[in-house]
């Protein structure tokens, strides 16, 4: 008897999606021999298609869910040999609780109705051990659209799932560690405040008690104690601020940087007026950002510019923006002492300074704060400078999503 070779088609719902695989489905001429027979005989083609894939259990069920064929992958994954399993109902692959709830039968109904059913869940091996599986069940129909059975492809996802879970717990652990670190910094800087005040306070009181009779050397030492404690106080405050920043989420909204910079410059007026500092402010864009945090950014950048132009007779600070690749790049430029680009990678580190404290006071926290804020906005910050040639700080703000409920500016 000459039989037309079966045509391989893809079943209706068999498109590759997620963990699923494209399913080859055999369609036989309708006038041919009994359907189950056809299914069984088609196995040679089937075998060709699937035996190469040891990580997939590919087998067929008749329309009642009785296992009709078996491949090597199935044997590997499920542990049954072909002889052991063919002829048995496929519900043996399900955990007992699924079986009692009629899950296997329900899946067949859905697959018959929709052409395809996909699921991820626990399945049972021959030895009773469980594994995590991706299952795709596809209905096989003949030309007259009569249901002849199902092709079932099962993939063992145990490893994948474990890896996914590991990745997740790693991320969670990292987040927890970060939160803990920030909480620690917060409480440490907090608890350091009191003793610092006490050192400063008692040295002041001591100075007052000793009064005029103070030995110049003693006075000098007392000054040193006070300077030290004051500096420590500032460091702790800056750290505290930085820690608080870490705990804070950016609340982005549409913000006019034009009016924001006006506010910042007003607040810095005293510093700016003290010397002859010229501020040139160009047009600034309206962007999506956290206005409070953005004020911190500009305040730090502008007060740095004021500080590091101190030796200039005519200090000029320029604030503006350019558009690069369709994105605004905001800059703060000064004509101050600048720095050697060799050390540029240190700029944004906590407590990293490029100038000595005798020349320019500071803790080295300002730019660390700024870069954290920019990072929170998915932006980038960089600088260009040369010794004695001034410095320019550039930043972008990425594409922070606005909080639709609030708008300013």
């Amino acid at each position: 008897m000459v039989r037309e070779p079966p045509k391989v088609l893809t079943s209706s719902g068999g498109e590759t999606k997620g963990q699923g695989v494209a399913l080859p489905v055999m369609v036989y001429p309708a006038q041919d021999s009994p359907l189950l027979d056809a299914l069984m005989d088609g196995e040679s083609v089937h075998q060709l298609l699937v035996d190469s894939r040891g990580d997939y259990a590919v087998f067929m069920l008749d329309s009642n869910g009785i296992v009709a064929s078996w491949n090597k992958g199935a044997e590997q994954i499920k542990g049954y040999s072909r002889d052991e399993i063919v002829g048995r109902h496929f519900s043996v692959f399900y955990p007992a609780e699924d079986r009692t709830r009629g899950k296997p039968e329900r899946e067949l109904v859905i697959a018959a109705r929709d052409g395809r059913f996909e699921d991820e869940g626990k399945r049972v091996r021959k030895d009773g051990s469980e594994f995590w599986a991706n299952v795709v069940l596809s209905a096989v129909r003949d030309r007259t659209d009569a249901l002849v059975g199902f092709v079932k492809v099962t993939r063992d996802l145990t490893e994948e799932r474990a890896a996914r879970e590991r990745a997740l717990t790693n991320a969670q652990a990292l987040e927890a560690v970060n939160a803990e670190l920030e909480a620690f910094t917060y409480s440490v800087s907090h608890d350091l405040r009191a003793p610092i005040r006490q050192i400063e306070g008692f040295s002041k009181i001591l100075e007052e008690h000793l009064g005029k009779s103070l030995d110049p050397q003693v006075e000098h030492y007392l000054r040193r104690i006070q300077d030290g404690s004051q500096q420590m106080g500032r460091l702790v405050d800056d750290l505290l601020h930085l820690a608080q920043l870490g705990r804070q989420h950016a609340k982005p909204r549409l913000t006019s940087l034009d009016s924001l910079i006006d506010e910042v410059l007003t607040n810095l007026r005293a510093e700016i007026m003290e010397r002859d500092v010229k501020c040139r402010v160009g047009a600034l864009p309206t962007v999506v950002c956290d206005p409070g945090l953005m004020k911190v950014v500009f305040t730090n950048l502008v007060s740095n510019a004021v500080k590091y132009t101190r030796r200039r007779e005519k200090a000029v600070i320029e604030i503006g923006h350019v558009v690069k690749d369709g994105e605004p790049v905001i800059y703060v430029r000064d004509n101050g002492v600048g720095f050697d680009m060799k050390y540029a990678d240190k700029l944004f580190g906590v407590f990293q300074r490029l100038h000595r404290a005798e020349e320019f006071e500071g803790a080295g926290v300002g730019l660390a704060t700024v870069s954290r804020i920019i990072r929170k906005h998915n932006g980038t910050i960089w600088a260009e400078a040369a010794p004695d040639q001034g410095a320019t700080f550039f930043f972008t703000l990425g594409t922070a999503a606005p909080d639709e409920t609030t708008h300013t500016g």
Partner: protein
């Protein structure tokens, strides 16, 4: 601390150095002698309700302000506040909370429990001294104490 003049401020502060600094700050404005220092929450309540080591103390109507550190050993500042606001004998004495934290949650809790003022200890000593002096002068000399205050002694 001094028995000759009646106590006008009860200072609950477990940190001896901070207590000293507060007393030194108030000494300059002549208020140090009318302050009594207690060192934990239990002692604070014992003092106010004349219990324990303060059993012999007469419930004086003279206390114009209680300055309460938030972080007190044994019974914390909030608990002390809750108890003294719940008792008719002590309810109307103004309470100022002093803290080194400005954690919003704490501030809110203080006000919910009926604190009259909530101050963060400034880290800078000069500002700390200023703050403490203002506090002392305001509550012990400027503020008009509640009329109920004069009846407290009769309570019990």
């Amino acid at each position: 601390m001094n028995s000759k003049r009646s106590i006008q401020m009860l200072l609950a502060e477990d940190n001896a150095s901070d207590a000293d600094l507060i007393l030194a700050s108030l000494a300059k404005v002549g208020l140090a002698e009318v302050i009594h220092v207690v060192h934990d929450g239990v002692e604070t309540l014992d003092f106010l309700f004349c219990r324990g080591e303060y059993a012999d103390r007469l419930q004086e109507p003279s206390i114009r302000v209680i300055v309460l550190d938030v972080k007190l050993p044994k019974v914390d500042g909030f608990e002390v506040l809750r108890e003294l606001k719940a008792d008719a004998r002590t309810r109307s004495i103004p309470v100022v909370m002093l803290t080194s934290s400005n954690i919003e949650r704490d501030v809110a809790r203080g006000y919910q429990l009926g604190v009259n003022s909530y101050l963060q200890k400034p880290i800078d000593f000069e500002r700390f001294r200023e703050t403490v002096r203002h506090l002392g002068l305001y509550w012990m000399t400027m503020n008009e104490p509640p009329p109920v205050w004069s009846r407290i002694g009769a309570g019990q």
